[in-house]
Symmetry: D2
Subunit: 333 residues, 4 copies
Amino acid sequence: MAWMDDSIVARRGEGWSREPVTHFLSEAVQGRYHYTIGPYSNPVLRIAPGDRIVVETRDAFEGAVKTEQDLPSKVLRMPFVNPQNGPILVEGAEKGDTLAVHIESMLPRGPNPRGTCAMIPQFGALSGTSLTALLAADLPEIVRKIDVDEKGVYWSKRVTLPYRPHIGTLSCSPEIDSINTLTPDSHGGNMDLPDMGPGSISYLPVRTDGARLFIGDAHACQGDGEVCGTAIEYPSTTTIRVDLIKHWTLEWPRLETEQMVMCIGSARPLEDAARIAYKDLVLWMEAEYGFDRWDAYMMLSQCGIVRLGNFVDPKYTVGAGILKRYLSEASYS
Amino acid sequence: MAWMDDSIVARRGEGWSREPVTHFLSEAVQGRYHYTIGPYSNPVLRIAPGDRIVVETRDAFEGAVKTEQDLPSKVLRMPFVNPQNGPILVEGAEKGDTLAVHIESMLPRGPNPRGTCAMIPQFGALSGTSLTALLAADLPEIVRKIDVDEKGVYWSKRVTLPYRPHIGTLSCSPEIDSINTLTPDSHGGNMDLPDMGPGSISYLPVRTDGARLFIGDAHACQGDGEVCGTAIEYPSTTTIRVDLIKHWTLEWPRLETEQMVMCIGSARPLEDAARIAYKDLVLWMEAEYGFDRWDAYMMLSQCGIVRLGNFVDPKYTVGAGILKRYLSEASYS
Amino acid sequence: MAWMDDSIVARRGEGWSREPVTHFLSEAVQGRYHYTIGPYSNPVLRIAPGDRIVVETRDAFEGAVKTEQDLPSKVLRMPFVNPQNGPILVEGAEKGDTLAVHIESMLPRGPNPRGTCAMIPQFGALSGTSLTALLAADLPEIVRKIDVDEKGVYWSKRVTLPYRPHIGTLSCSPEIDSINTLTPDSHGGNMDLPDMGPGSISYLPVRTDGARLFIGDAHACQGDGEVCGTAIEYPSTTTIRVDLIKHWTLEWPRLETEQMVMCIGSARPLEDAARIAYKDLVLWMEAEYGFDRWDAYMMLSQCGIVRLGNFVDPKYTVGAGILKRYLSEASYS
Amino acid sequence: MAWMDDSIVARRGEGWSREPVTHFLSEAVQGRYHYTIGPYSNPVLRIAPGDRIVVETRDAFEGAVKTEQDLPSKVLRMPFVNPQNGPILVEGAEKGDTLAVHIESMLPRGPNPRGTCAMIPQFGALSGTSLTALLAADLPEIVRKIDVDEKGVYWSKRVTLPYRPHIGTLSCSPEIDSINTLTPDSHGGNMDLPDMGPGSISYLPVRTDGARLFIGDAHACQGDGEVCGTAIEYPSTTTIRVDLIKHWTLEWPRLETEQMVMCIGSARPLEDAARIAYKDLVLWMEAEYGFDRWDAYMMLSQCGIVRLGNFVDPKYTVGAGILKRYLSEASYS
């Protein structure tokens, strides 16, 4: 894709011009998956900036929901869900740097029905939950097993949804915390943002030596907000290229696509996630694209793009973006 | 537009098949504009279902911000802002019915620079406000006057934004309350939803005899969330066709476009606005499109569309939608 | 009560030193009660500053819940609940003034069981509601009729709660809005703050000529937050003395008791209600008690008192207070 | 104190009837303090149920703010704040048990001015923060050094506040997460609840073998909500007695005092913290005190006590309590 040549990672990545070495992070190489993202686990791989990794991700239920009779409340054992590959060490990465993760492709893996969607007790946006604690009875617990291939998500006899794969959980390690894989925060984590699919480049703050990249939670598609609490969870073969941008210090993750750059906030209530994202975007436009701060703020009020990742996880995730063409127009002024 | 023939209003409206009478609600006919939406003001027009109205809306500052030196804190007198045309009585409308408002066109009105965008003290998503009360100093007060025509919004020398007009405030009267024109709620009001533009059909709950339609607050364009607190506010000539759907009782407003139907919630915190919208959409799919409730809920988790109207008004507005083609596919099952 | 002589109203009220005229606002004088607080209803009484009024309040269900079989969903017709006495015109009151309402006494009225507590569908803090919209089933609908006298609230055979009466809803009219009696806001309204009982003085912003005082919603007792949605709702004979403080312009209601002064905020989410209350208290300490702003802020972090009124109404209510002795100590510095 | 003999820990603790061994967890024994609460750090002490520990806590700034010129933004290095003593292993403690921590006494330690209060940039309830991200300028950064002794907190020449010591941060380890010491959650952590002082008994969920108790963050006094972001932070000698209740599985911390039992929730927005606390209290009254669920819910609506810990930390903390005498009255019914 031609636009990639002018992407941030292409211009600033340490290893983008190198011929990438390709690593294979299979299930076997991974061994034990991780349920918490932090500095206390043993690396499974060490790569150089610019390398490619082919990752075998497991689905968010780690394969335990095999049929529509396998109810999550029976077959899952909390908090051991949303298994992550990694941590992957990136040579030369240090606190204050940024890791760039370009998703090259996401392919379904394993036999059909590969996809799983579930209504889980005390989970989902229209149910009482462990955090929005109510005395109301739980919604019914329901599992749907769904055929998925590279052409579609076969929801029902009548409805086929497009295959729009993306990575639900992605991040480097926090500095001293270790955070469960259900919770997004300033490190990234379980953002469940549909824009984080093939072609996108995620920029993640590095907070420990080696960055310690974690990745998992592939979705074959997801609606805005992931309202029932789960997407089409499926095992994938996800190919990423990982690079390092030295001395670019982010407070929160960012995302680049062909058309757009986006800042990502995760918080509760939901407006605070949107505030984080928009504030970071204003400051970015000021710092790197030649905007006056208030001009950026007022212009985003006219052309800002908001994407709701999830409003079901322990923190909610919002992306605030702007079309790149407005940035380039401005940068010449 | 051919899709209109299969729209909800075309199928269910009392007067859609009639040849519409066209009314002209000019500034002169309107006389005094309104700053509160309720049952206590005198109607300015009486129409039959299916009639067309050409409305001269004033901008949200009622024209008082003529230059970039006219600071809102000086030239506005609260709460007399966001002036509305109306109320318009619709014959035969009664509590429990729904009013359909099809926006046919929106044209700029008056001399350029017609558009106004402002950062107003104690207003906007990234400032302390009267409701998110802080001790932090206000952001600077800034006014931008912007040329607007039917081809574009001329933000700056380098950036031209597309002309994407929409109505910011639209509603029937509440039953007994009278609500200021800054606040959206279940009646509609100041939703600031960019999807409410030409071609769209809004469905609004009727709660008093005659419906008492109010309309105003035209925007030449607006980003998702209206982050600085204002859009490109401008005076417009807005042409609407208004119809009545008897015995269709809505709790919250809904919207139809060529591709999509959408439910609209307004509340704080922002997740509650999204909950209202998604719940209403689930129940609508169950009631009128043949979906099982839980199938609708789980499917929206895969293909639901969320649109953020504003997160700056006294209540925030979110739309939750679904592509019509998924509804029609399902309705045959 | 001796402390009253040094209260704000005693020092600043227009009519406090006058011999009060006593008015009787009986059910018969009131006639039709009000379900919305605004400038559009006809006054039932006109008083001079400093006058006393004996008010016959009806319970929040307007007497319709007579037995434990009278389910609210059957016997109530929304939005016609929480009936208010008034509006009462106060001579000389103008926008920018403050009304002081000293509650002298609250006596139970009518035959026992006078008290009513109910779990109402889609209402209460631990249930899905019309604003926190969920797909969860409603909690059971339950009515409790409770004997109440001046000595106690006879909850059950084993548990007698103290009689701690207070007024749930109190306010002057907004300037142009008319707001339903379930919703508190900057005008006051349905604050459901247990501190607003006999002995207290409420200070309410005046926004229209004559102030237009509304009062109702007596509670025989209430826990912090009114968690199930209702208190011990009962009909009362409430005696108030009403005075006028000219040119004291409040943004939000305030409260004075023997020990404490308090500022009251109403908003969602709950932290915004607390922010409003604390900010107003800081600014008050700065404006009238000789505190440096930041000293007040930091000192309240050590001795501020927070009272949760309700977190069940359309807006939640929080009071932030400080013991008067800390103010007087400071004022001599 | 006689009431202790009838406390929950006295009736159910494994070691309460034993003669306690007293351990001394001095600064020297502690060595390196901890900034994250989790299962990955090395224990500093191993005790038997019922043992007493004398703990030398450091203040939340770890002594780095020695004068009013030591601005936090200069002398602190995030995230290395709020240092904790521990982890302390308790013999026999296993996931599913509860740890009881009775605070016997809290004495000031070190030379005066021992107390520190600070306004820290991007922190506090009336400022933009890292989570409620705004473009507003920071409040001024101010440090107050305060004399503290067992009789008072000497705020200023005119105002002396009572010495009301309590522990701000207390918890067992989460199962797999390691959580920074600024954040409260279901494990406990930085709750900043003024009720957690001498005489109180905290009940904490055990989630790992040995419980791994952490304690720190002593406050000489604190107002409700800790509005500016800090209390009177000071180094203390805190004496606790720690016991183990087997097979009592809590979801969230609880607290017992002479008069009251309380459940504690931590979440954002603030109403969700209150929901967690009240729900847990309802279920506790049902499970262990013989209440019908709905009777408990409705009765708490009349007599529930809400205590606001903080609304400044990454999650806010609320306690919901009931007087024990209402429980004992009910338990005989």
